[in-house]
Symmetry: C2
Subunit: 346 residues, 2 copies
Amino acid sequence: MNAPLTLRDIARQAGVSLATVDRVLHNRPGVRADTVRRVKDAMTRSAFQPHAAASELARARSRRFAFVMPAGVNLFMQQIQAHLGEMANWMAARRLSVEIVATDVFDPAILAARLEDLVGRVDGVAVVALDHPSVRAAINDLVESGAKIVTLVSDVPSSRRHHYVGIDNIAAGRAAGALVGRFTGGRPGRVAIMAGSHGLRDHAERIFGFTQVIAAEYRQLEVLPVVEGHDDDDRSEHLMRRLLADYRDIVGLYNVGAGTAGVAKALTEPLSGSGRAGDIVFVGHDVTAVTRKLLLNGVMDAVISQNPGHEARSAVRVLLALARGEPLLSEQEAIRIDIVMRDNLP
Amino acid sequence: MNAPLTLRDIARQAGVSLATVDRVLHNRPGVRADTVRRVKDAMTRSAFQPHAAASELARARSRRFAFVMPAGVNLFMQQIQAHLGEMANWMAARRLSVEIVATDVFDPAILAARLEDLVGRVDGVAVVALDHPSVRAAINDLVESGAKIVTLVSDVPSSRRHHYVGIDNIAAGRAAGALVGRFTGGRPGRVAIMAGSHGLRDHAERIFGFTQVIAAEYRQLEVLPVVEGHDDDDRSEHLMRRLLADYRDIVGLYNVGAGTAGVAKALTEPLSGSGRAGDIVFVGHDVTAVTRKLLLNGVMDAVISQNPGHEARSAVRVLLALARGEPLLSEQEAIRIDIVMRDNLP
DNA sequence: CTGTTAGCGCTTTCAC
DNA sequence: GTGAAAGCGCTAACAG
């Protein structure tokens, strides 16, 4: 019925100028308290919402974001980057650009240095961070410089980052535990855990959740000490071989990080004296080309996954909203824990 | 480094006016083929992307969308509506409004009439549709009228709807089948299926997928004939009681639609001579207040779920993009099948 | 077939 | 403290 209101209408209603309304709208100083009240009244009275496009156009700013991510062949990280690539047009239409900074995220000094490099150069940063004091300090410096920061996949909760884009890793570990528990169907035996490193916050949290569930609800299962494969295929394979040889009663296996191909190889290779893939419930993380194949051929039973496309888009959206000073649709930005089996492979 | 290009820059490069560039950009007629080429060249040469906000502002249109959804107490549908409510500000900032049309979606004549009412009145419609000829015709009439149409939750693939917002229900059924199969842990016995109605396309597809998996991969399980609870608690409870009494060897239960509270009641109530909740693997759909409680207390083992928030936002985003003539981020709009257990309850 | 021009609603100087 | 006015980049008449 009624044409949408504009700032102009509010200005008229409050008996002030456009500029003043704008000042009030953005809580800028230099307006008498009384005038502020009058303007705010007018706004609420008519449920005024500023037109997003107009505001965006008027400031006509382009923005630079940086994504600081692990260098190397981590398939999951590559997927995130690919999804960023798919957003290129979307970002261009909004005058955004993102620069990918590949670095050694396992070395806190190097990672912190890369982050410090960005101070003053960008409007926002998404970082796959190691939770370490010097990294935390670098994040805080970036925040101090006015940039907006989101942590990606692995959080640094003690820093002043504005937002975390990733899953609740304790819950993810619990879900993995429940799957191993249920899928072993009451058979007693041991459960092996292969992690990248205890030092990674996300891995540590997953292990915690997993162990918790197994201990509490599946008493017939005994969890073996965690071995660290450093997300590396060869190393993981080697360690896995050893485990399989040492313990003949392994019924479940939780691979917390990457290196999945190596683990699977140890599990399936007849030479290793195992070929026990069919008997061992194998749960891991993230849908990649490797895990997809293992699910399809039945070596893996389930994958706990976070959606890399969602994470990429969410990081960009959140950085943009923070930079513009817009509110987040928080439910939209929550990253869910996906349980993926052969039949709901995306 | 370089300030982003504008239409003006392209115009200068191609030696034409702003208006001509705009015509070419939108494939509007009335431009000589040769000029079109020159302009397109200039655009690609400089990788031009029009500024989304400027375009949106210049047309300054408000848009009306309608959501046609089942009247009544369906918790899942209520959640979708609640999420639409949460987007109110977001929509207002983009000059969108949505009107919710509650109707009897089980009666094709009524549903079709409601849809016809909307012809000419709205820019877009999202509809939870029954797959029936008269509904299909109404959808096509709306498309004819220039409105953009998305089907929501349940599709009408034979219509000319522009997009379907919902999950692959066959895959959802397969996932449910795999869960029942795995969780029963090799125990032989019968599996019951409770559906809303065979006439609902989504229910029929789920049953198909479920049965397929059980038959192919879990030969020790025998699927009982589907009973129809009409998504109604009382009716579902009654039918479930009968099933439990008739068959003492039920080890699995798949509830395809709503009415979950009734099913659970039959399963747990000691009077019904059953109290067999602990022995029967119970899988259903959608995370609601009811299913959440049943997962937590162990009556349900898993829920196959589509994210109502995602569906609500996706429907609005897709309608908006279609109305504006913008491309979709197709991966973003794909609705995933979530498997939810106690430990990854959102 | 092509160009000119007046906005869209908000932000941002720069005056007063 | 407040206001006037010049854009932001694109679209849509309306002329030619």
